[in-house]
Amino acid sequence: MVEEENIRVVRCGGSELNFRRAVFSADSKYIFCVSGDFVKVYSTVTEECVHILHGHRNLVTGIQLNPNNHLQLYSCSLDGTIKLWDYIDGILIKTFTVGCKLHALFTVAQAEDSVFAIVNKEKPDIFQLVSVKLPKSSSQEVEAKELSFVLDYINQSPKCIAFGNEGVYVAAVREFYLSVYFFKKKTTSRFTLSSSRNKKHAKNNFTCVACHPTEDCIASGHMDGKIRLWRNFYDDKKYTYTCLHWHHDMVMDLAFSVTGTSLLSGGRESVLVEWRDATEKNKEFLPRLGATIEHISVSPAGDLFCTSHSDNKIIIIHRNLEASAVIQGLVKDRSIFTGLMIDPRTKALVLNGKPGHLQFYSLQSDKQLYNLDIIQQEYINDYGLIQIELTKAAFGCFGNWLATVEQRQEKETELELQMKLWMYNKKTQGFILNTKINMPHEDCITALCFCNAEKSEQPTLVTASKDGYFKVWILTDDSDIYKKAVGWTCDFVGSYHKYQATNCCFSEDGSLLAVSFEEIVTIWDSITWELKCTFCQRAGKIRHLCFGRLTCSKYLLGATENGILCCWNLLSCALEWNAKLNVRVMEPDPNSENIAAISQSSVGSDLFVFKPSEPRPLYIQKGISREEVQWGVFVPRDVPESFTSEAYQWLNRSQFYFLTKSQSLLTFSTKSPEEKLTPTSKQLLAEESLPTTPFYFILGKHRQLQDEKLNETLENELVQLPLTENIPAVSELLHTPAHVLPSAAFLCSMFVNSLLLSTETKSAKEIPEDVDMEEEKESEDSDEENDFIEKVQDTNNTGLGEDIIHQLSKSEEKELRKFRKIDYSWIAAL
């Protein structure tokens, strides 16, 4: 590092991939999805991100392929621009500035130079569908201000708008009605569900709409799980609809296949339903997709579907309903209970993932490694069901042990609690359940920690609970005559005046255990489990507790709910210092003495890095996030950095990651944006050059020949056609000044006549030539035959001289004839 830039907060793990429908490229090789301010291009085969199209300055809200050039992509954003990209090279081609917030984008092949967008102009919640004319211009920045209004008072979501039957009409749904606007007639028909006021049909709201690609048929999804297929909607009265009902909950999205033979639907059930021929009988399912289906899209080639799910993933599905690839971002569906952890073995970030799973996310490659199924129960995704939640997890003993706590609380008094202790089996390279403990405590477990001291011979785990106890679990030998086994047993139960235990933490060497009981911190000897001393500051409940490390191991830090950060000296058993800081997150760095604390204020979150030995912070960064920061963790670096300036030294050996309330994972980077932004010219770009395949030799050559032939014929035609300049009438017409020309009506017949070819003369000329040609060919053929015979005879018998002479005379004759002919033609040509 030569010169360090300021520390910047950067996002990790990307934004949501499931914000809008994903779009396939024309050849189904790539899939595009919006992700925050970017458009990401993924390969459908390898699941790898090929390009990130960046240039928008606000959330990208819609993407569509350019219907006139399938190698280009339109995107629109809340920043009021529509951008045109070349997605293969990842280059921005054009920017159209519209000027108002765009919420969705639609393209129709028939409307050549215009696209459709959802905008809101006046009031914040009234949305309009407008057609935006994209002016043709060679410049990169173009103003596109020509908006023409199509539909008013529509839903904001692009799922509620669909263009049907090659852009003849557009269907929009909102609440209880469907409106169809016909472009040619410029009329709108509106269909309200008749029973919408009825109580029985109270959940009749429209949720999404899709149009058949070739027929006049509109499919609409409803809140109650029904799908209605509307036909005959040209007439306000004669319209009909049929009902398809399988979903028991809201239909989230609908899509017709390219040919229109089947309809795809999905919802909270996480099942993709394919309705064949739009009948209720013929349906196929792809179940257990893991999370609510939010969007469905179909590739233009028709071979792939894809579903976007609420847990931030895109599943690419083959036409035969087989999942072929999963593009998975950081799972962001649910709230994070477990906090952020680092798996010592894989160095991956571990946190709540899919329901009942722990996700392992590789920070180095910014990719999800896998989900570890902890609860191992079929997940039923339904509204109102109280699920088993994975609430706590901890790694111990260098990743050899994993403790997980799952709980389910139906009512206040009915708590189901289970703790599982998993052992990492080196032989099979996976976790194996070692001990399962039902109801380890009477009430929720508030903290879980392993004793991670290096020299500890016996793995130790401490759980603290709201029931006022903390339990110490140790690994004991459970061997009997049948098998060798180890298992966890409870070794000690401690409490302090029936106060709720809120936090627990081991000192670095594992000799002391600190447990906080509401406002009081108790220190226990970890060998005899005797209470050594208590600290009480009367400053509110303890929210965070941690020991200092390395040279600062004699300090204990506690952050309280009333916004006081206390540091106690364990040798003198006295308060060393305290500071007024509303700490939300407090994390010690495993590789140094540093402790990071994130405080919350009304403006935003601030970061403080300090050593426990002195109350002066090493580094302060204000406003790291506007939201509340929920969790943080220090991740040891593989290769230490070497920042020299004092302010950045805390980042040398570890990197700090934190998670905000909206579940965006952020970290600090000192690299300047320019350093990371490599121009495309710098990239190692090898030209694609693939050699010719046998198919090319067969088909390509054939085509080439055909092309040549075509060219020849064209040339012939051109030769036969007289050049326009050579026709005197035309040249006269063109060269005479306009004011002296006679009227056009008078000139017309003369002009047309001049362009006509004189057929009689030509045909007369051509016919004999053709005959000649034929004769020539015949003679040539016979020549060849003769030659052949000649050769055969040559080889067979050379003795018959007469024959040869005879033959020769014959061939000579022919030659002569040929010469004659040639002479004739030549003369004729002259």
């Binding site: 070794d491 990239q683 190692l684």
Partner: protein, 641 residues
């Protein structure tokens, strides 16, 4: 990254399959197997990332492969004041993979797009490509072949930049110097070329067999005082086919020394070599050599001039199957490749079959001279297509796992007597033991036997059966007694049973209570009887708490839901039976009630405590009266004051 050559019928072809880790973070491992398939594995989660079959995979199998240097990809936009939506992390994405084939063509495969990117043929090799090296900066590609030539390719244009004759025999290996200006090539002899002029700069003697691997080991000269011209003073390493020695050479300023500086010895032909570059004088070079016999040898050495003796490895890593029982003996699992992680402290090992290799990160511990890892790869053969798509791993949950439910010992802390207290008890016992000699004890037993003989009439009676069953731990006998449903019989038996069997009976009952709920119902009757009848005896026991702690916990957990009801019930029963029992016991003395040993107990705090507890118990609302009383007193003691 070095890549071994493809296996073929040629005896002088290097062993092993061509494979390589992706540069920088070793995120991927590419392996071109002998069936012509190229497979790319993710090293972090051991998942098949993609599979590619070149169209000519049968005629022109892949002989060598090399990853292109990381492609820098623009992924970030400058931060604005309000929003931060930038991506970090994947600034260097590896993409292109160059494959050399047996027919002389070179394929460039894009791992991001999963398709063939381009094919380098025109003007290239007309025989087997032996080695490919990417130039680290210029984006050029160097390849050497059996046709004796070295070709420099312009990858951007997919054209030959330069082609020259590299050797009189086939050229088998290449390496580019750290500064990118020189090129090492080797057939049997090793040549150092100046890339600009394509002239030979130095000659080295080389090996007797074709050199299969070449690698620079240092990037800085050992003598830092002299001006450094980019090449002089650097060490490099060479390994050859059928050669168990790896030679280290030094590029010297004078063109005299042609022999190797030193050598490393391994157990078999090297198949895959990886090393950590030493950046300064003090830092040792770490070398991992995978041999054909499936072992990995690790060397750690500071390169410093001559060394006559070949060096042996600091550490050897082997992998074997667990081999349970007599039938399956442990079998070695071959290691296919090994690569150092970026922290230089751990090693990525690829082992198993090339069809489905396992990739594991192993932390290095230089102290151990031999590491044998036991790995079970039998389940790796199962197809993993499902997990490959969903990325869900299911940890094993089998019946062998220990299950702790409330009441089972281990769920709650075992109640131990406080340490000073136990000492007291022990001392008491000791003193007691001293008082009574063995002879006396025998005498006591002698007295006892005729008594039993007297009671021969009652042998079949329940109290005797119970006593005998408890003493001999006879399951059948105990079953016979304990499975009775007759409440009166139970009461009588409990009344008549000798006092010393009360505790063993309670422990037996506890064990049975933890078992099946149906039998537990019967045990509850017994338990109730024992506790009500022998409450006074139990309360006198000093070590009651540790002895009956589990029973107490069990009952606590079982009765928690209807605590209050059962408390009331227990209290009433206690009162009623106390009254009736006091009348009955007067008449019928129970058998074997005479004390065999009597000794005076020293008065202790313990007893007074118990007395208090006993008093408490009458007032308290506990069903298992005495135990809970004792334990509550215990917990009072335990609670920090």
């Amino acid at each position: 990254m070095a890549a071994g050559g493809g296996g073929s019928g040629d005896p002088l072809a290097p062993a092993g399959v061509p494979c390589a880790f992706s540069p920088h973070s070793q995120a991927y491992f590419a392996l071109a197997s002998t069936d012509g398939h190229l497979r790319v594995w993710e090293t972090a989660n051991n998942r098949l990332h993609q599979e590619y079959v070149p169209s000519a995979h049968l005629s022109g199998t892949c002989t060598c492969l090399a990853w292109a240097p990381a492609r820098l990809q623009a992924k970030e936009s400058p931060q604005r004041k309000k929003r931060k939506s930038e991506a970090v992390g994947t600034s260097n994405q590896t993409d292109l993979l160059a494959l050399g084939t047996a027919v002389g063509s070179i394929l460039l495969y894009s791992t991001v797009k999963g398709e063939l990117h381009s094919k380098l043929i025109s003007g290239g090799h007309d025989n087997r490509v032996n080695c490919i090296q990417w130039h680290q900066d210029s984006g050029c590609l160097y390849s050497c072949s059996d046709d004796k030539h070295i070709v420099e390719w312009n990858v951007q244009a997919c054209k030959v930049k330069c082609k020259w004759k590299g050797d009189n025999s086939s050229v088998s290996s290449l390496c580019i110097s750290p500064d990118g200006k020189m090129l090492l090539s080797a057939g049997r002899t090793i040549k150092l070329w100046v890339l600009e002029t394509k002239e030979v700069y130095r000659h080295f003697t080389g090996h007797a067999t074709p050199v299969s691997s070449l690698m620079f080991t240092t990037i800085r000269p050992p003598n830092e005082s002299q001006p450094f011209d980019g090449i002089t003073g650097l060490y490099f390493l060479s390994g050859a086919v059928h050669d168990r020695l790896l030679n280290v050479w030094q590029v010297r300023s004078e063109n005299k020394e042609k022999s190797a500086v030193m050598s490393f010895t391994v157990t078999d032909e090297p198949v895959y070599i990886d090393l950590t570059l030493s950046e300064n004088k003090e830092e040792p070079v770490k070398l991992a050599v995978v041999c054909r016999d499936g072992q990995v040898h690790l060397f750690e050495h500071i390169l410093n001039g001559y060394c006559k003796k070949p060096l042996t490895s600091n550490c050897t890593i082997q992998i074997a199957t667990p081999g349970k029982g007599k039938k399956s003996t442990p079998k070695p699992i071959p290691i296919l490749a090994a690569g150092f992680c970026s922290d230089k402290m751990s090693l990525l090992l690829v082992y198993g079959s090339w069809f489905q290799p396992t990739i594991e990160r192993v932390a290095l511990n230089s102290r151990e001279p031999h590491m044998c890892l036991v790995r079970d790869i039998s389940n790796c053969w199962a197809p993993k297509v499902e997990t490959a798509i969903t990325k869900v791993r299911t940890p094993v949950m089998n019946s062998e796992a220990k299950v702790l439910v409330p009441g089972i010992p281990g769920h709650h802390a075992a109640i131990k007597p406080a340490p000073p207290q136990t000492e007291q008890v022990e001392s008491k016992r000791k003193s007691g033991g001293n008082e009574v000699s063995i002879e006396e004890r025998l005498g006591a037993m002698d007295i006892d036997t005729p008594k039993k003989g007297k009671d021969d009439l009652q042998t079949n009676s329940f109290p005797v059966l119970l006593t005998q069953g408890l003493e001999s731990n006879d399951f059948e006998m105990l079953n016979k007694v304990l499975q009775t449903r007759n409440v009166n019989l139970i009461k009588k038996t409990v009344l008549r049973m000798p006092l010393h069997t009360v505790i063993p009976l309670l422990q037996e009952l506890t064990k049975r209570l933890q078992g099946h709920p149906n039998s537990a119902v019967l045990m509850v009757q017994w338990l109730k009887c024992v506790l009500t009848v022998h409450a006074s005896y139990l309360s006198t026991l000093p070590d009651l708490v540790p002895q009956l702690g589990t029973l107490y916990q069990l009952m606590e957990s079982r009765v928690k839901t209807f605590q209050k009801l059962s408390h009331l019930h227990g209290k009433l029963i206690l009162l009623i039976t106390q009254v009736t029992a006091s009348e009955k016991t007067k008449g019928a003395p129970s058998p074997g009630q005479k004390a065999k040993l009597v000794y005076e107990e020293e008065s202790s705090e313990e007893e007074s405590d118990d007395e208090i507890a006993d008093k408490d118990s009458e007032v308290s609302d506990l069903f298992p009266v005495c135990t809970s009383a004792c334990i509550s007193s215990y917990s009072v003691r335990m609670r920090p004051s």
